[in-house]
Subunit: 316 residues, 2 copies
Amino acid sequence: MFRPEIKVIDCTVRDGGLMNKWQFDDTFVKQVYHALADAGVDYMEIGYLSSESAFDRKEVGPWRFCGEKDLQRIIGDSEKKIKLSAMADIGRIDYDDIPVRSEGSLDMIRVACYVHQIDKAAALAHHCMDKGYETTINLMAVSTVGPRDLEEGLNDLAKCRVPIIYLVDSFGAFYQEDIEVLAKMYMERMPEKTIGIHAHNNQQLAFANTISSIICGINYLDATLYGIGRGAGNCPLELLLSFLKNPKFQVRPLIKVIEEQILPWREKIDWGYFIPYMVSGVLNQHPRAAMACMESDKKNEVTEFYDQMTSAAAGI
Amino acid sequence: MFRPEIKVIDCTVRDGGLMNKWQFDDTFVKQVYHALADAGVDYMEIGYLSSESAFDRKEVGPWRFCGEKDLQRIIGDSEKKIKLSAMADIGRIDYDDIPVRSEGSLDMIRVACYVHQIDKAAALAHHCMDKGYETTINLMAVSTVGPRDLEEGLNDLAKCRVPIIYLVDSFGAFYQEDIEVLAKMYMERMPEKTIGIHAHNNQQLAFANTISSIICGINYLDATLYGIGRGAGNCPLELLLSFLKNPKFQVRPLIKVIEEQILPWREKIDWGYFIPYMVSGVLNQHPRAAMACMESDKKNEVTEFYDQMTSAAAGI
């Protein structure tokens, strides 16, 4: 039996774009858009919502901005086939640059923040709600937050108007038991909220932790095609839909778009299970050092990377 | 806290050899042997125990046989550093070709069988016990066995003298919940036995299912370096030891041997998460069709493979 409250959010373009500066061409984004709609996925997170002044379009692709013109190229002349989401980073989007929902094509804005930014995140999310959007706050890097700060943060989140709060394993450091403890804590501290999960795959646990989240009652589930995403990547969407066994989901469109659009990128960029990402996950570290290693000519010199990271973690 | 009863069995050479017909050179096997010993791994499964008449040494490497001369080349003149295991397939080893333990270098013989072969497996394992070996029976492909056959099989295993019985997810089809149900069933039906887990990674759940097994009280844990193994491979040993946090385990020797011996094989053979393996896991099918696809020039034509497999599974 499936649970009708479950919503699946694909982050292929948004999180995958962290690996190639959103240099996906329109054909890629269109095919993903149609495949997700055909598969019955609930939301497509198509990129970040940023002010044009925050980045240079010569350096990053359109999905760092998600301007209405960008969105229109993908949707085309037909009716929109799937709800669209964009992620907003605090400080990279001016309130005035956010259109009211009825004048644009986005349905949901998700505000990502660290625990010390909750007030700012709530203010931005409230602004988006007042403009008509569905909103979430995605509390990142929870694996590095101590119990007192987390308790205070969750209490603050409980008081805000945003209806959906995400548990984000930014570093791919959590085991299933961590998810169980945190899911319980989130639901107890924020009984009025819907909880979401966004997992990373450093320890090959993104899918497993998403399953554990479902069992714990978490209902908003992030995933990406073939797990594409920053560093080790995310929960693979094709695995998640196969697991959910909801008759509204179809796996075949995902397999097809993976063949046609994702596998060619697999030849160009490395996401997934690699020792540098494994090491940063085990050590509960930001993946930036592992990504730098993977992009260098020392990609396979994993013992040296391990030694550097364990020395740093030990404060040596 | 760790659980002292837990034993870790590395199957790198044995299960990895299914991907290259055991064409690992002695340098590879020696380095793995020393790394596993330095890492504190409890057993190294160095291959299959087969009669020389069962296979041709021109076609398969030495670790399809595990002759005493083969083992001696690896151990060298020093004292043996780690317990050695070999897997025996029913019908491929004559009883007379199994030396008594005190005359050879193997410590453990693991007998792999399907549910209809339990009597033969028990006979072979008892023979090995009588020759002084530690023994296990590894009941394969449990995901295809119905409840009545499984109940009967477990009752038969409960009656045999073999002290360790493995739960084997041959097709990588199980979710954590399956492991929980089966682990409970195995322990209830065979209260005198120690239970082991051997997981495959078709759905990126080999490590997660091994963690779930540990939580359920399973104490013999199979893994391989970087997950090398048939098809999607196995539970990655470096992840497992990082999780176990037993002070006797060291991860660094594993990272080093992965760099020096496993990554070069990664360029030559494809194990791990690929769509054909994902499809066969989701559909609970033997990986042979997925392996044939991966070895063909249609490796990336995953939609066609998906259509073939789903049609076959639907009996079309």
